[in-house]
């Protein structure tokens, strides 16, 4: 058959197969290029960090405290600080963020005020983290009297990632088909029973993914903590409510800004520890996601 065949009454087609195939190939190539650039950057970064940091990474490094001499330096205070902060951030953000999201998605009417509220929450996710630091300084350190403590830092970070958690949770809740809600209501479920029994289980994997990604963001933050009292040189295990504290990114910042090359290398070693923490957190996210999704087939 002629590709541009014309029938007496029918419309003319110009399939231009060659051109369509070429444009398809070009698009495919562009996608490959994009992923290639990303992978290459990541690999270079990893290579640089690993070659510099790995030789310094040993048990003494993990269990030691910072020192004037790079060879004697360790990251235990920072590691413990980061873990403590992660726990406090998780405990505060998880219930509040999800409750706020449930309110906005399942209870709030579609009023102008609520839409405004939601837009504002989304905007908060884009506020520079240093601003949160200043706010945390005013609210937690001064007004609430927590001082320059680990709790002040953790609460500041909780505020920082709250919008991310809320937005992710709202998205996950909205993605649950209306039929799921109707199915529960039709059995005589109250609104809360519908949310708890039908909507939340369906949204849980998405919510947990959002929460854990937000936690990763909190663990990686340094800037706001510098304002609410994190030190770069802490030689003791921090306690939540008093005294100085530090976390891994702040420790990295402290070492990386020293002129000596060896300090920059142990900064790289600390970065490896952060990356491992992130990897564990993401692995946890995947495990939880798979577990929570085991009954879901959309």
């Amino acid at each position: 058959m002629n590709a541009t065949a014309t029938t007496a009454a029918g419309p003319r087609f110009e399939p231009a197969l060659m051109r369509r195939k070429i444009s398809g190939t070009i698009f495919y190539g562009a996608c490959l290029l994009a992923i290639g650039i990303l992978l290459l950057t990541l690999l270079l970064l990893l290579w640089d960090v690993l070659t510099r940091g790995l030789p310094w990474l040993d048990w003494d490094f993990l269990t030691g405290s910072p020192s004037r001499r790079p060879a004697n330096s360790g990251i235990l205070p920072a590691l413990v600080g980061s873990v403590q902060i992660a726990i406090i951030v998780g405990l505060t953000t998880f219930p509040t963020g999800i409750a706020a999201a449930i309110y906005l998605s399942e209870y709030a009417t579609d009023s102008r005020l609520n839409r405004l509220l939601q837009t504002n929450i989304s905007n908060l996710a884009g506020v520079p983290s240093i601003i949160y630091g200043i706010f945390g300084l005013a609210l937690f350190v001064r007004l609430m009297g927590f001082g320059y403590s680990l709790v002040s830092g953790a609460l500041t970070l909780a505020l920082l990632i709250m919008p991310i958690v809320i937005v992710a949770a709202i998205e996950a809740l909205r993605a649950v088909p209306e039929a799921q809600r109707e199915g529960a209501y039709a059995l005589g479920a109250s609104r809360w029973q519908t949310v708890r029994g039908s909507v939340l289980p369906a949204a849980a994997p998405g919510i947990m993914t959002g929460v854990i990604l937000a936690m990763a963001r909190a663990i990686g933050e340094a800037a706001p903590l510098l304002i609410v009292g994190a030190f770069t040189f802490v030689t003791f295990i921090p306690s939540p409510f008093e005294g100085g504290y530090t976390v891994l990114p702040v420790q990295v910042y402290g070492w990386a800004s020293r002129p000596q090359e060896d300090f920059q290398s142990i900064a790289a070693a600390a970065i490896i520890v952060i990356l491992v923490l992130m990897f564990l957190l993401n692995f946890l996210a995947i495990v939880i996601r798979v577990r929570l999704s085991r009954h879901i087939r959309w």
Partner: protein, 302 residues
């Protein structure tokens, strides 16, 4: 197992034997005839028919739009009542008014009275949550919860404070829904892992488990293949001994095969749906009183 599944092709004959046997209604067919003995459920009608649901001058509004216009009809207990009519005529709206599902739609409003066993479903003391346990619903698209098969059925009893043995009730409900034999060895698997027809029977089991008096079905077979459709229809015939069933269907063969009474609705110029005719199913399909009904059931419209 449930009653033996009939051959889908044979069931088509119900309405097509006068139309040249090609299994389809066409405009040339003067009138659809069904042999009453071929219909599944239209047995002799008991003399002691009791009204379970009575709709009195019911109108339904979405905001200012009147979707259903002044419908009065009675639904008899332990019968299958089919609502048929063209798309958009308000069948589903009317159905969802019965268990107050439309309360969930912002701007929705009902006028008139819906009496369920003598109580006004929209009376000041009527509680939609309480009503929905007694008036169950099966939806167009199977919507099992993302839970195990067991938990799907157990959900309703649990939230309604069932005091007996939940496991026993789950088994009993699944048996009644003719699904037990297919799922008894995989109660912990996801309800969503079942086939479409099984999912719909799971949803029926789920509805039965709260011991409703009425089961509303909103085009329950439109997402299913013919074999699964016939399984559901056979199941309905079983269930009507214990439940009153109201079914919305687009499929006229289904209304003809599976229902005792058929109500034909259509919409007016203002797109508001109204009731044209309601009569025993055999009469609607063989001897409709209204010209609109005749056109619709003979395939000349819709």
């Amino acid at each position: 197992m449930i009653a033996p599944v009939r051959d889908p092709a044979a069931a088509e004959i119900d309405t097509s034997d006068q139309a040249g046997g090609d299994g389809r209604l066409d405009a040339a067919t003067p009138r659809v005839r069904i042999d009453p003995t071929l219909t599944t459920n239209a047995g002799p009608r008991p003399a002691d028919r009791r009204t379970a649901l009575s709709l009195q001058h019911v109108s339904c509004f979405y905001g200012s739009f009147r979707a259903v216009n002044d419908i009065s009809l009675d639904v008899a207990a332990n019968e299958i009542t089919a609502l048929i009519g063209p798309s958009g005529c308000g069948k589903s709206t009317l159905l969802r008014t019965i268990n107050r599902m439309n309360d969930l739609v912002p701007g929705y409003r009902t006028e008139g009275h819906l009496l369920f066993e003598g109580e006004d479903l929209y009376g000041p003391r009527a509680d939609p949550v309480a009503i929905r346990r007694r008036v169950g619903m099966v939806f167009q698209k199977p919507n099992p919860f993302p839970k195990s098969i067991f938990d799907n059925v157990a959900f309703g009893p649990r939230i309604n404070g069932y005091k007996g043995d939940v496991a026993e009730l789950v088994e009993q409900s699944l048996r009644r829904a003719a699904l037990w034999n297919e799922v008894k060895d995989k109660m912990k698997e996801s309800g969503m892992s079942l086939s479409g027809g099984q999912q719909q029977r799971l949803c029926i089991a789920r509805a039965i488990a709260t011991a409703p008096e009425v089961i509303l079905m909103d085009e329950p077979c439109s997402a299913l293949d013919p074999r699964a459709t016939l399984q559901i229809e056979d199941l309905m015939a079983e269930l009507k001994r214990d439940y009153t069933i109201v079914i919305v269907t687009h499929n006229m063969q289904q209304a003809a095969r599976a229902s005792d009474v058929t109500a034909f609705m259509t919409m007016g110029d203002d797109r508001g749906g109204f009731l044209v005719e309601m009569a025993p199913t055999v009469e609607i399909f063989t001897n409709p009183k209204d010209r609109l009904t005749e056109d619709y059931v003979s395939g000349r419209f819709g």
